[in-house]
């Protein structure tokens, strides 16, 4: 194919120099090219935050939605056009905080959407307040005495709530990201990719060096289909060890697979219904 990453390139990014988002967009574009997709083939929903600002830098049929609400918007697109790949790009504050309820329930439903979370532990766009994944004691403008709560563990939350593809990657390794994104898009069902993405401007704890030191590649011998093992691996986040790769992968019918009237045609394509007469019998 004559596909190349340039067809996905929109405006010039406005992210801080050195921000992990630059490599995320690079990894995403190359995974899309490898999957032979064009901007017209994909649907992307962007959340609000530094991650969501990718809306102007990446070409696609897209919605730049509200803070926290990218997942339900993506579900709506999937219900109407279930044959198109639907990707959600959002941040940790956006998806695990404001939109936490949607996240949990999207896992349950195994909605076939790919959720890529730029996880930097802070609210970058509002100048660095602590996010739900910030480490206990993290000092920020909104938590001057250190954050009281424990960090949220997105991997174990996703696995236990029914996600069928749960992975983690790191912006320090573009090739790894591209390959994980590709696998997530290829997977049928709810996919979470938790992207460890240092915020070079505000987060002085979870830096590139920090993740380089505390992360490791999941060995090829690991069986991602083993639920118990995956929970054990996911819980390593609680002791600040960060496995990189696919933590859990299983097969289960997706939400739209289980809607019998979506078996043949996409909702947007089907013929209008005209059998009102039958419905009206109820009212006689």
């Amino acid at each position: 194919m004559n596909n190349n990453v340039q067809i996905f390139t929109g405006c010039n990014p406005t992210w801080c120099p050195g921000c992990g988002n630059h490599s995320i967009i690079g990894g995403l574009k190359s995974s899309l090219v490898q999957l032979n997709l064009t901007p017209s083939d994909i649907r992307i929903v962007f959340g609000i935050g530094c991650s969501g600002n990718m809306n102007d830098f990446l070409n696609a049929y897209a919605v730049h939605s509200l803070h926290g609400r990218a997942i339900p918007t993506g579900i709506g697109i999937k219900l109407a056009q279930h044959k198109a790949p639907v990707i959600v790009i959002a941040g940790d504050g956006d998806c695990y905080g404001e939109g936490g309820n949607h996240f949990m329930h999207a896992c349950r439903g195994n909605h076939d959407i790919k959720v890529f979370i730029h996880n930097n532990g802070v609210y970058g766009l509002t100048t660095g307040q602590a996010s739900p994944t910030a480490q206990h004691g993290y000092v920020s403008k909104s938590t001057p005495k250190g954050i009281i709560e424990q960090p949220l563990n997105p991997l174990s939350l996703a696995i236990t709530q029914g996600a069928t593809f749960v992975a983690q990657t790191f912006t320090g390794d573009v090739d790894h990201m591209a390959s994980i994104f590709g696998r997530a898009i290829h997977h049928r069902g709810f996919s979470l990719v938790n992207i460890l993405q240092p915020c070079v401007t505000f987060n002085k704890i979870n830096t590139f060096a920090y993740y380089q030191k505390n992360s490791y590649k999941i060995p090829s011998s690991y069986d991602a289909k083993n639920y118990e093992m995956s929970l054990k691996m996911a819980s390593e986040l609680n002791s600040f060890k960060f496995p990189l790769g696919v933590v859990y992968e299983t097969e289960r019918p997706t939400y739209t697979d289980q809607i019998s009237h979506l078996k043949t045609k996409e909702l947007v394509c089907r013929k209008p219904y005209a059998g009102y007469g039958e419905l009206m019998k109820e009212f006689l």
């Binding site: 929109g10 405006c11 064009t38 901007p39 017209s40 649907r43 929903v45 609000i48 600002n53 809306n55 102007d56 070409n59 696609a60 049929y61 897209a62 919605v63 730049h64 939605s65 509200l66 926290g68 609400r69 997942i71 339900p72 918007t73 993506g74 579900i75 709506g76 697109i77 999937k78 219900l79 109407a80 056009q81 198109a84 309820n101 949607h102 949990m104 329930h105 809607i259 019998s260 009237h261 979506l262 909702l267 947007v268 089907r270 209008p272 219904y273 059998g275 009102y276 039958e278 419905l279 009206m280 009212f283 006689l284």
Partner: protein, 575 residues
């Protein structure tokens, strides 16, 4: 016969609502125009449920003060409603429960004894009562038998026969013991069939007719039956009906589907709508079509969940941060609900903005009869109009938010090859990219605002005037579900020689200043009628047109306004 009321009451959880609806359908099958109303506490068991059916040979769209037939399945029913009985009223009751019913009103039926004799379950008391009620009105039980057969069709022959048996027990008991109380009311079956629909049924049916393909909701009284009805039809209609985790997910899911090209709607009541409001604003700036069914109940907060009020008008009109166009329609009855729901879907597509169908408990859960011909006429004349929604761009590049004289831009359904665009919640330039430039901002704000002007010129309907405006001494002003109540009050006033007119609004927002003002220039006694405490439509009218109405009838105890309350106000208070 002018108007009669039949009312049944008993303990919640014992089938009163089903029985009431059966009576409505039977009355409609005899050619009467019916209107019914359900009262129930926010409980599943216990408490007092009651259902009244008003039926008339003329149009009826309101309750009336007095009860002609009161069916008491327990003692409370009599105690709670006896003040509405008059000379000539009849009371069906079990003499075991009650010995205080006046002799000339009493139609005692030993419900419990009949049940015990033939091992009936407590819910079958309803069937006996329905049989007894019909015996007072007609000589033929076959209509009721047919209704029972239909109602229990999925429960098997045995249940059908058992119910028919108890219906006949009630029927025969009256024929034997109270023949002098029988009046021939249900005499001839009407040749013209009538449908009996609640406001929620009408919204549901019209949504299907309008080719709505995605309905998302989270249950909330009094909108919940729309979710249940559309879900029960899902496999036939092919609509996707989704009960999401919360109202925020509901509206964003609907907007996602709308972006992807399908007609979408959500339904809720005030509290649930409060959660959706941020995304109403999102629909405004992304210019996505959406129909929002808002069935009001008595608030604030949890308020009185199963009671009626019109107190979310201003909340709806002003919902959403920032400035964007919005259309609010408030049907006056079940038939207008059909018509305006269909219109709402077209307007949402034409104007690419949120359109509200504003209902309330009184309209949503009450049923009315609609002649088959009129319903079929609506279906055969309705046309889906998707405005500038296209599957193929008319030119390239496709500028999603291109400025235009009517404020509306072409909207491409995502998927067309070689093209892409974003629906952007940030302010944007014509191509959809985020922009904070002053000139882009002004262009887009003016473009969106212009849609309101286009709507007022092309689709706003001025209020209907009922009665003869020129000769009227009193002019009532109302909106939404009060249509039938005020119209009935006009009939009652005319009977005592008082001439009135009624200006009834269904297109409640935005209001066309010039078209509306004209109706308020006469030297008349204008009386605003609303079911809220702050005269919300009055405020909106003043804000939009400068018209101020000083005399007001406002009711806000959760109970529906009665026509007699309007007439007694008019007669008691002289200007």
């Amino acid at each position: 016969m002018d108007v009669l009321t039949w009312k049944i009451g008993g303990e919640a959880g014992f089938g009163i609502l089903t029985t009431g609806l059966s009576f409505s359908k039977i009355a409609a099958s005899f050619g009467y125009s019916i209107f019914d109303y359900i009262e129930y506490p926010s409980l599943i068991r216990g408490g007092h449920n009651n259902y009244e059916v008003v039926f008339s040979s003329k149009e009826s769209g309101a309750l009336k003060e007095t009860i002609d037939y009161l069916v008491c399945l327990n003692k409370d029913t009599y105690e709670l409603h006896k003040h509405r009985l008059v000379k000539g009223s009849l009371v069906i009751f079990d003499p075991k429960d009650n010995s205080s019913v006046a002799y000339e009103q009493a139609v005692p039926i030993p419900f419990q004894e009949i049940l015990d004799r033939s091992q009936g379950s407590p819910v079958m008391k309803n069937t006996i009562a329905l049989g007894a009620s019909l015996a007072l009105m007609c000589d033929d039980i076959s209509t009721l038998f047919g209704m029972i057969e239909k109602q229990f069709s999925n429960k098997g022959k045995e249940i059908i026969e058992k119910n028919q048996y108890f219906a006949k027990q009630g029927f025969d008991y009256v024929k034997t013991h109270a023949p002098s109380k029988v009046k021939p009311i249900f005499t001839e079956k009407s040749e013209q069939e009538q449908y009996v629909l609640s406001g929620n049924d009408a919204f549901s049916l019209s949504s299907v007719i309008a080719d709505c393909r995605l309905y998302a909701a989270y249950p909330m009284t009094p909108s919940s039956s729309v979710l249940a009805t559309l879900a029960s039809w899902e496999e036939k209609t092919g609509m996707v009906v989704r009960h999401s985790e919360d109202e925020i997910a509901v509206i964003n899911t609907a907007l996602g589907a709308s972006f992807a090209g399908v007609r979408s709607a959500v339904g809720t009541s005030g509290g649930g709508f409060a959660l959706m409001v941020e995304s109403v604003s999102l629909a405004g700036i992304t210019e996505l079509p959406l129909v929002i069914f808002m069935a009001q109940r008595a608030g604030p907060a949890t308020g009185m969940p199963t009671w009626t009020e019109q107190a979310d008008l201003l909340f709806t009109v002003f919902s959403g941060h920032g400035e964007f166009p919005k259309i609010v329609l408030a049907p006056g009855d079940q038939e207008e609900m059909l018509e305006l729901t269909g219109k709402a879907y077209n307007l949402a597509d034409i104007y690419q903005t949120p359109v509200f169908v504003l209902s309330d408990m009184y309209l949503s859960e009450s049923h009315a009869s609609i002649p088959k011909k009129r319903l079929e006429a609506f279906i055969s004349t309705y046309r889906v109009n998707r405005g500038k929604t296209v599957e193929k761009p008319s030119g390239l590049p496709h500028l999603r938010y291109k400025d235009s004289p009517d404020g509306i831009s072409e909207r491409l359904i995502p998927g067309y090859p070689g093209v892409f665009y974003q629906a952007n919640s940030y302010e944007h330039s014509a191509d959809g990219h985020t922009s904070e430039k002053g000139e882009d901002r002004v262009e887009q704000v003016q473009k969106r605002n212009r849609k309101t002007e286009t709507y007022l010129a092309n689709h706003f309907s001025a209020p209907k005037v009922y009665g003869d405006f020129d000769t009227a001494d009193v002019v009532f002003v109302s909106w939404g579900s009060l249509k039938g109540v005020v119209n009935r009050a006009q009939i009652l006033l005319a009977q005592s020689g008082k001439k009135s007119a009624h200006i009834h609004f269904t297109h409640v927002f935005p209001l066309d200043k010039e078209k509306v003002r004209k109706l308020f220039e006469a030297k008349k006694r204008y009386i605003l009628v609303e079911q809220n405490s702050q005269a919300q439509f009055g405020q909106l009218l003043t804000m939009s047109t400068g018209v101020a109405i000083h005399e007001k009838i406002l009711k806000f105890n959760g109970r529906p306004l009665l026509p007699e309350e309007i007439t007694s106000y008019v007669e008691k208070i002289n200007e």
